[in-house]
Symmetry: D2
Subunit: 331 residues, 4 copies
């Protein structure tokens, strides 16, 4: 048994992490904190999660008396809280971008000044399937962004095979990806019966994708464009790879079967996956296709942006960090 706190449980990702940990057979959820919703019951704010705890204002002296923490603060706000937790010896999974980019300069170009640069070096990028062993020994895990999670799982086998010369990633996300804040963009009347791109040629997940593709063996600048779709949870990435060398259909299928055949949370399919098939799960569902007419390799990856793209992958990482069965509490 280990005690855990969720810091920032008022948002969609944090609230779901709290739900998963509340029902986790081994972790014990001690506290949930929130900045703007402190004082409200979590099961009043999110009835469907059925977590009968009251959101408290963060007090590291009280809430830091745990073994583990999931931090679900916005970028920038997270780093100092993570630092405070680490000082108290708490092992942390951080859902923000604050510890995802290894290069402080790159971070500061996209996000502004870093609040705890000393911790960057020890942080592990927590895409569990790709960095399982590093996660196991980590005290600080940077949970990947939702788009990088789907994109990197979709592209890793090709990147490792040195087969990517260029790649276009057309990503589609449900509205929950935009967070709980009520804005013009998240208004039902704006999103319903609509689809549009956003963050064109400048989304903050780009440097994260590029960093990790390079680490996997594909030092490219990916063209990444997210789109907002009229659905709640779910994310699909459509990846169009210009191959560096010829990769025929058989090799393509083989690469993915080898990479993911034993992965409990990756499913390979023949037909293009739909996000319905992964809703409310930690699954990533992938199909690969060779387009003989154009020579492109096409890979689709579908996840639930709030689950595998955030909260359930955080719990998956906690499980690995503490030596628990990887799927405990997320299946």
């Amino acid at each position: 048994m280990a005690d855990v706190v969720v810091i920032g449980a008022g948002g969609y990702g944090g609230a779901l992490a709290a739900r998963l940990l509340w029902r986790h057979p081994w972790f014990e959820l001690r506290h949930v904190t929130a900045r703007t919703d402190a004082g409200r019951r979590l099961d009043d704010l999110y009835p469907r999660h059925r977590v009968p705890l009251t959101l408290e204002e963060l007090d590291l002296d009280r809430h830091g008396d745990v073994d583990a923490a999931v931090v679900a603060y916005p970028h920038g706000a997270s780093a100092p809280v993570v630092a405070g937790l680490r000082e108290r010896g708490v092992r942390v999974v951080d859902l923000s971008a604050d510890f995802r980019l290894r290069d402080r300069d790159v971070y500061e170009r996209w996000y502004g000044e870093h609040g705890a640069p000393a911790l960057l070096e020890g942080a592990v990028y927590g895409l569990t399937e790709l960095y399982r062993e590093d996660v196991a020994g980590a005290d600080l895990v940077a949970n990947p962004g939702c788009y990088p999670t789907a994109t990197l799982l979709a592209l890793a086998p090709l990147a490792r095979a040195g087969a990517i010369a260029d790649v276009v990633v057309d990503a589609k996300s449900g509205v929950s990806g935009a967070g709980r804040t009520a804005t013009e963009a998240t208004h039902f009347v704006s999103a319903d019966e609509n689809v549009n791109a956003y963050g064109v040629a400048g989304h903050r997940h780009s440097p994260e994708i590029d960093q990790e593709l390079a680490a996997l063996g594909a030092p490219v600048a990916a063209t990444f464009t997210p789109h907002l779709l009229p659905l709640d949870q779910g994310e699909l990435v459509s990846c169009y790879v210009t191959p560096k060398r010829e990769v025929d259909a058989a090799e393509l299928q083989g690469l993915y079967a080898q990479a993911y055949g034993d992965e409990p949370f990756v499913e390979l399919t023949d037909r293009p996956p739909g996000v319905r098939d992964v809703r409310d799960t930690n699954m990533c569902r992938i199909s690969v296709h060779a387009d003989e007419r154009t020579g492109k390799l096409i890979v689709f990856g579908a996840i639930d942006n709030l689950w595998k793209g955030a909260a359930s992958q955080a719990v998956q990482n906690l499980n690995v960090m503490f030596g628990r069965p990887e799927g405990e509490g997320v299946e």
Copy 2:
């Protein structure tokens, strides 16, 4: 005044064409025909279109006594009907693929035997903005597919400028694009809260796109992938162009301003367009972006698949064919 018939008015595209022509100030809608719904009132089948005519079984001797016809039959079924209409001197806009591909061999590879190959040579590809003068003199206009309409409008200025080395087209369509037939894919429970690709590396709109890109000056094999989205009407194409030569942001904007500045049914926007903005209109809304990080040129085009992608473009073409103001009855 000219008399017009809509043949195949039971489907979404034909029914909308009937609605537009029923209210058209110059064309007079004489008959509506249908194969499986003959005997039903059109305003019973589509109350919202409010066309108080009864669908009849096609009888060319009776229904061919008109000046113009919109044919909205499936691929293959259309050609013989169009031939019969042409024999009677009726000028035709055909919504099927039967007269879109200039090369009979290409047609037959994708669709099977052609039913009226003698008419292929005289058919005009009716993307009005690109072929206005040809449409004006045509007796047979092949109305473009919905995906080619959005894609070609989005790419034409770059194609004409000789700037396209390679292009990936990631297309997103509402469910009405799949037609009125009730199938597993069009069931609400399948499409709702879902998104998935279909027709990967083999959609029939590919040869049509390639043919027209080549005609415009870009002899490439476009990578074209459509996706099904949980919305009714609306289609967005996200085009990722690898440029043949350097095109900076200023030239890019200039090319599109020059091409479309005077077009009544093309709107250029700074922000990526949403399909809501063109719903129930003949508009194509386009934005262009240069991605400095990756060198790609990105173009978005949004249309209503049933309007500009089918029925209202058919009426636009009829207007041009008969010397009427181009926007009559579709504004």
Copy 3:
């Protein structure tokens, strides 16, 4: 020709009124004003309405120099503006509740102090089909609420026939009815895949419904409960009438045929109407049913809450006020 201003064109109802008046063949839209969006172009805020005017801050001295005004302010804020317009001789259609309730005490119990009580007596309740003659001579028309519009059109024939002993009105509305303000309730993630009642036993449209039912001959306290549905535009009222006397199916159909047979904007149908059938129209679509098992009379009324429930009915009223054809600019 008459000059018209829309005051409060930043909200959904006002913006749609501006769109309809911008294209109206007789009224000329001179100005559009807004409180929080002044300075923005209306076609930037609502691209789909395509009104190329800039929203201005209200200045009655400048904007009051017109023949007519549509005021789309919130309850309470509207009355003083309407008073200022009336002082300048402008004829007004007001979309707020400020002039709907004839009894000042009732108004103040539900809405707080009234800002221009002297105008109450002269205001006409603008449910066009029921009060056409009064509207024709009016200088100030209180446009009905969306729920009362559908409910009263659905119940008027029974109320006038003295046949209503009791009535339950279960109303269902799309999210646009909640207005443009981004809130937890209008967030896509809250409304999507959801349905719930709100304002139970205390919605402000209740006194308006009761007042008008009494005026029509049914002095009852209607049980009125609105529900929020995951759709954009559209409103359905399901009315369950306990009859005061026996009304058989034939009499029931006769009452409605007599009341609405000649009404251009009311459609009687056999099957229960769907809101899709009236989207983007000024139509109210009604079906009536006698439940022999229970003795209840059941009436369904479907409208588009933004059109017949607000903006298009406002234009319909303006047409009547100025002696124009009733459907001009709204068909």
Copy 4:
């Protein structure tokens, strides 16, 4: 451990029952059968359920060698299969209407000839919360319809208190309630952005509701009207009760607290429940309100039509029948 078969696992309800039983800690799912989808893998037909079994054609000799069966056949088709299972000593939960109505004449008036009338007397109506003890000893449980489940849970405390003189039930259901068959009504384009009533004054759930209300102490003919909503899973009933005697707010709350305070699958809330709050759960969420203006008592009940309205209630009943913890496998 007990072996179980799901007969008719190709439909939404049967497939979900198979999913729940596949993961049930005590029941062992031995077979899944289907009529039209035999030969397909269940995880091909429903990837999200992740049940790696192949649907077989029903063969009672092979598939009847189990302890328990969930039968998810249409009305009429179910009775003979249930009879065959009972002959082999299999304990059955039947999801059809075939054993819900105690009076054979009533059944045959609404559904046609009964296929196994001898079994009617021993069948138990399986609304678990109301008939737990009878279910415990039953060999044949008729799982309630989705609408009766929500309606009866919403009204039972008032019915038992003798407080219902008359009741109107306005029900709203997601499209999954219409089943998996692709029809004009279940086409995305028909249901999206729409809402309409259906089965007015004649839905087959009416006699079931009336039978059970009478059994609870309220011999009334309920006015029941279902509506189709643009969402997948979820059902809300809005019940408007004309009380037989005065029931003040305090008594009302007390009745429900007493009835449901200890029920694990009923939640009482102050605010009207939304169907989002019960999605993918066995929960029924209820709120009660007294409308002082009109004297009506208003009760809302929200369930997931596929879970508590069908499959999870079936498992709940199996648990009770076999002496297992009631929530095993459905929490």
